[in-house]
């Protein structure tokens, strides 16, 4: 089991009071805190090596380029990609998905084609596909959600036909916490020769991801949710797709030759990294990943499962609690409403008791529509949270309940 006290020391932000009590940060699905090493690494590169990467002949540029390309290696081995050039650095999950939706769409999606996405997706994995559909005259088929928060894989199988071009599904749901059975989702799609994009924004920090074993065609995630800097993200794509798809943004670094008549594009990964990359960000992200690797994803999973079991048990005893999402396989995240109390009121009061949760629709309006609600209160935990924090949270919930009667 992990040494939670040692770990918490690496996250100075957790050791402060917002009002009266030490902060209890249960908003990890929105963004995660950063271990000191991420900040130190970022500072070091700014203060010692800062210089633009690629094409530079001088010392600093060489150092920075090396560190940037090493960051790519770190990501590659973290998700076990086959090639380093299958790792594209982006500004976040949203950009990664837009990149695929646009470029895959340009090349492969035409009138009346179909895209399968689930009913329980983040807006970032809905709207880019809607935009492709609008541009190309294609349409979205919805993989239905079941009341317990799991996707209906029987219905899924029936969605495929000759027109199906791609499937886009999340690894873990940010509104309900369900860990989707992506192995099966990918397998079924591949039986129909349809590629699959996995939105890993909530998966990468809580699960072991092996893209070769999963055999997914694309996997996307955000740096800021896996303890790294804001403005960083990753798109993994199989070489074959990334080679075949057209470029996304145009600009510096992504081209080989430019004349006003004709431009030829660079090889992977640079083809998809137009303009000056967030190179210091990528280096910070790789520090975050290395930190996770040192703790060990297995240990993290074990600890988070223990936390979740405890949280589930405790919260189920709070009077009038209504929990949304009761799948057996979940990350440590609970979406709920407390009696008739508005989610905003609950969130506000928890905040006054120094507990940070998220309230609202979690960029997941179709899921809220499915349950016929406006929003929920969401507590999302990670490996630096503790049993004591859960106890305090439960006590606070009971106080909130009393306050609003």
């Amino acid at each position: 089991m992990i040494d939670i006290q040692a770990i918490r020391k690496d996250f100075p932000i957790l050791n402060q009071k917002t009002y009266n009590h030490q902060i209890v940060y249960f908003d990890n699905a929105a963004t995660s805190q950063k271990p000191q090493i991420v900040i130190d690494t970022t500072n070091e590169y700014y203060l010692k090596y800062n210089s633009n990467i690629h094409r530079g002949v001088h010392y600093l540029s060489e150092k920075m380029t090396e560190a940037y390309e090493n960051a790519r290696k770190t990501v590659k081995s973290f998700i076990n990609a086959k090639f380093q050039h299958e790792i594209i650095f982006t500004s976040g999950t949203t950009e990664s998905i837009n990149l695929v939706a646009f470029t895959f769409g340009e090349k492969y999606i035409f009138e009346n084609d179909e895209i399968i996405i689930s009913q329980n997706e983040h807006h970032s994995n809905i709207v880019p596909w809607q935009m492709v559909c609008e541009r190309k005259g294609a349409k979205i088929k919805v993989l239905p959600l079941q009341y317990n928060g799991e996707l209906d894989l029987n219905a899924y199988k029936k969605l495929f036909n000759d027109k199906t071009k791609i499937v886009a599904v999340n690894h873990a749901s940010n509104s309900l916490g369900t860990i989707n059975n992506i192995e099966t989702i990918i397998k079924i799609a591949h039986e129909h020769n349809v590629p699959v994009l996995i939105d890993g924004a909530q998966g990468i920090q809580h699960q072991i991801v092996d893209v070769q074993q999963l055999d997914c065609d694309f996997y996307t995630f955000s740096g800021h949710k896996i303890y790294g800097p804001t403005g960083t993200g990753v798109l993994y794509g199989k070489e074959k797709w990334l080679n075949e798809m057209p470029p996304y943004k145009g600009g510096g670094d992504m081209i080989k030759t430019v004349t006003f008549e004709k431009t030829t594009y660079n090889d992977l990964p640079l083809k998809y990294e137009a303009g000056t990359a967030n190179f210091v960000g990528a280096i910070g992200l790789s520090a975050a990943i290395k930190y996770v690797e040192i703790i060990g994803m297995k240990n993290i999973i074990e600890y988070e499962e223990m936390l979740f079991k405890y949280l589930k048990e405790k919260i189920s005893k709070v009077p009038e609690i209504r929990i949304y999402g009761t799948a057996t396989n979940k990350i440590c995240l609970i979406s709920f409403l407390l009696g008739k109390i508005h989610h905003f009121d609950t969130g506000m009061m928890l905040d006054k008791m120094d507990i940070a949760v998220r309230t609202g629709n979690h960029c997941n309006q179709p899921t809220m529509q499915f349950y016929g609600i406006e929003g929920t209160v969401r507590a999302s935990l990670t490996y630096y949270n503790t049993i004591e924090e859960i106890d305090y949270f439960i006590d606070s919930l009971i106080k909130v309940k009393q306050l609003f009667g």
């Binding site: 009002y19 905003f344 009061m349 406006e374 929003g375 609003f404």
Partner: protein
Amino acid sequence: MSIEQAQEQIVEEFSEYPDWMEKYTYLIELSKVLQGFKEEYRNTQNLIIGCQSQVWLQAEYVDKKINFYADSDAIITKGMVALLVRVLSNRTPDEIANAELWFIEKIGLNTHLSPTRSNGLASMVKQMKLYAIAYKTKYNV
């Protein structure tokens, strides 16, 4: 009672509740006694969408004064709505347009009015002022 006096009165009331818990308990009380909002006002035209909570605001011009009737789906927002209505309702357009609302900061609830809070309250105040200006122009007062 002027807008200034109404604000002072509220500040005095809240001074009895130094503790945040009591403050919010009082806000909840206020939300319960908010009156005059009829079900027919709850329409999309009156809706002010906040990302977190929603506010409905109805304005009526009677005897050269504007009456506001408002509601919210969240209790705490509704308590704040009650305070805003108390201060700004039944005033001339001029009074409303020129009002400076300092009481919210004074009672320590200013985060509720921040435009980034997205509970609809900042938009509500803006909407109240827009009504005032609209009536001013319409009736040339």
